[in-house]
Amino acid sequence: MTAMAGPAATGIDGARFDPSRTEGRGLADTLRSFKVAVLLGWKLEANWTDPFLFFIYSVAKPLSSALILVVMLEVIGGPAGKAFRPFVIVGSALWAFVLNGVAGLAWSVLEDRERYRVLKYVYVSPADFLTVLVGRGVARIGVGLAGVVITLMVGVIALGVPFDIGRVDWPMLVAVSALGLASIIGLGLLMAGVCIQTRQESWSYPEAFAGALFLVTGAVFPLVVLPAPVQIVGLLTPLTWWIAGTRQALFPGGPGSVGGPGSAFASTFGHPDPSAGEIVLALLVTGTVVTLAAVAVFRLSDRRAKRTGLYDRTTGS
């Protein structure tokens, strides 16, 4: 049945209904959406309770994880374990970024849909949804930064981790940090794409994914202790190179997580340990592949969610 058109509207203010309003301002709009998403993410994460509880949540958790690992290392490794303290402290500290970035970004989708019920309103706004999510992820990483810095400081000041600021390879630190954090956002987008397709019971998926990465990326033990196929998986993961690069930049000459005699890296590339250049290159390549794949998966997930009506489908709806 086709409805008959009703009476035509008269006296319409042409300026108010200016057709140019349907056109966006491109990059300016994208930047504005990104900035406000970062601000929103920060407010939601940092403003939800008083500073003391915020400290407990974002600092004490990673710090206590690092301390547990250090104690375990001392008990198992004895005096030899002290040489591995920087290794454990760096890997453990950096994991706060991974949890906040990978899991946090996916949780943004679930929280906005299930808890705040605003996902559909954000989605039907002109803001690019992917940009908004990336902004939220950056905010989460910012929250994680406090935990990283304090864990490293405690490692140096209280646990005697030998740190010489004059020996830090700053260019490498900047390069691997930028590429590594971009890769974390990429992995977060991947999980967000997965969580768009699921419902409330998927809160644990991102954490489980981050936990699996914890095992294969050399965060707290060298890859060489893992079976060769698992080492290969680790070598294909950008986080492995990010952690290895950060260790090498902060503590040059310290134990590495990627190579070593008998490692998959050594047998593949013919030398025991990767150079700084190789680490940055490997991080660039794996990070780019993962990020592009994540964007593609996210776009596919977005299309499927729109096709199947998942953006406002909450648990029990």
């Binding site: 049945m1 086709t2 409805a3 008959m4 058109a5 009703g6 009476p7 035509a8 509207a9 008269t10 006296g11 319409i12 203010d13 042409g14 108010r16 209904f17 057709p19 309003r21 349907t22 056109e23 966006g24 301002r25 300016a28 709009d29 504005r32 959406s33 900035k35 406000v36 601000l39 929103l40 407010k43 939601l44 403003n47 939800w48 705040y116 019920r117 605003v118 559909k120 309103y121 954000v122 989605y123 039907v124 706004s125 002109p126 803001a127 908004v132 419902r199 729109k306 096709r307 199947t308 009506g309 953006y311 406002d312 489908r313 648990t315 029990g316 709806s317």
Partner: protein, 342 residues
Amino acid sequence: MPALAIEVRGVRRVYSSKKAPIVALDGIDLEVPTGEFFGLLGPNGAGKTTLIKILTTLLSPSSGTASVFGFDVEKDTKKIRRIMNMVAGGEQSGYGILSVREQLWMFTQFYGLAGAEGWRRVDELIEAVGLAEQRLQRVSTLSTGQRQKMNLARGLLNDPWILFLDEPTLGLDVAAARSLRELIVEWRAAVPGRTILLTTHYMAEADELCERIAIVDHGRILAIGSPDELKRRVQRESIFRIELDRLEGGAQALGRLPGVVSATAAAGNEADTDRQSVVMNLVLEDDGALGRVVGDLADRGSHILGLRKSEPTLEDVFVELVGRGFDEAGTDEPGPSAEAIA
């Protein structure tokens, strides 16, 4: 500006489910002119919300085409999103830890308003919807009615050409619902050309607000027209209840007048011996016959104490079209196990 705000052609939407596919929209055709207050009226599960989701680019149709101000909902999503907005009822949406002001400002940024302009717009709308006292309050502390007013303000942030309202007064108490309806009417009246598509299953709300209404059930439009046109579908005669101080010649005398279909004493009238008046039900061929009745009564020396036209309701229209009432008609929206069949 296009003459049509909404144009829907053969839109079909099917959800898969474990039992059997659910047809939410079954080939809808619809045109809504620019500037109209249009309503979709139907029970739960009729397909109203599904149509709004498609028009607001939240959901893809399984087949058919739909456009908003000439922009295709599948191809021109960004353009549509800049000139429309939506507000849904029956939900507690909002970032609870943000203040009302912060919450609204966030959305101004998603709509591309400059920072200062965004704050100005937020403050204007907070004032307009009557939340000035709550502007710095956290969203989580707002009452249901206040939260819905905030959501309405959010829906108006981008000064939309068209506003989609999906059961906006659902779950509100009578006063809050009335207040919200008044705000909606005021907003639309302020600028000619603003279009509203309202879905509701409250008949009185649709009757009060909408210029035209489509009655929807099981994914189909059963009837469309102004509330008066729809009511006339079920009542072709005019029915009046008239109270007189006395009536010479009885009801039969009135029943013989031209244009009068029937004239009967109202139920219980004869038994009420204390009554000092006579109450009659008059069924007339049309309103024009009323003049003749009034003239005849004056000639007989009767004085009219009261006169009320008996109107059919939109529920009567629905019952006439569907063969059952709203309460019997409702089915749930597709549940968690239901997914779309593209």
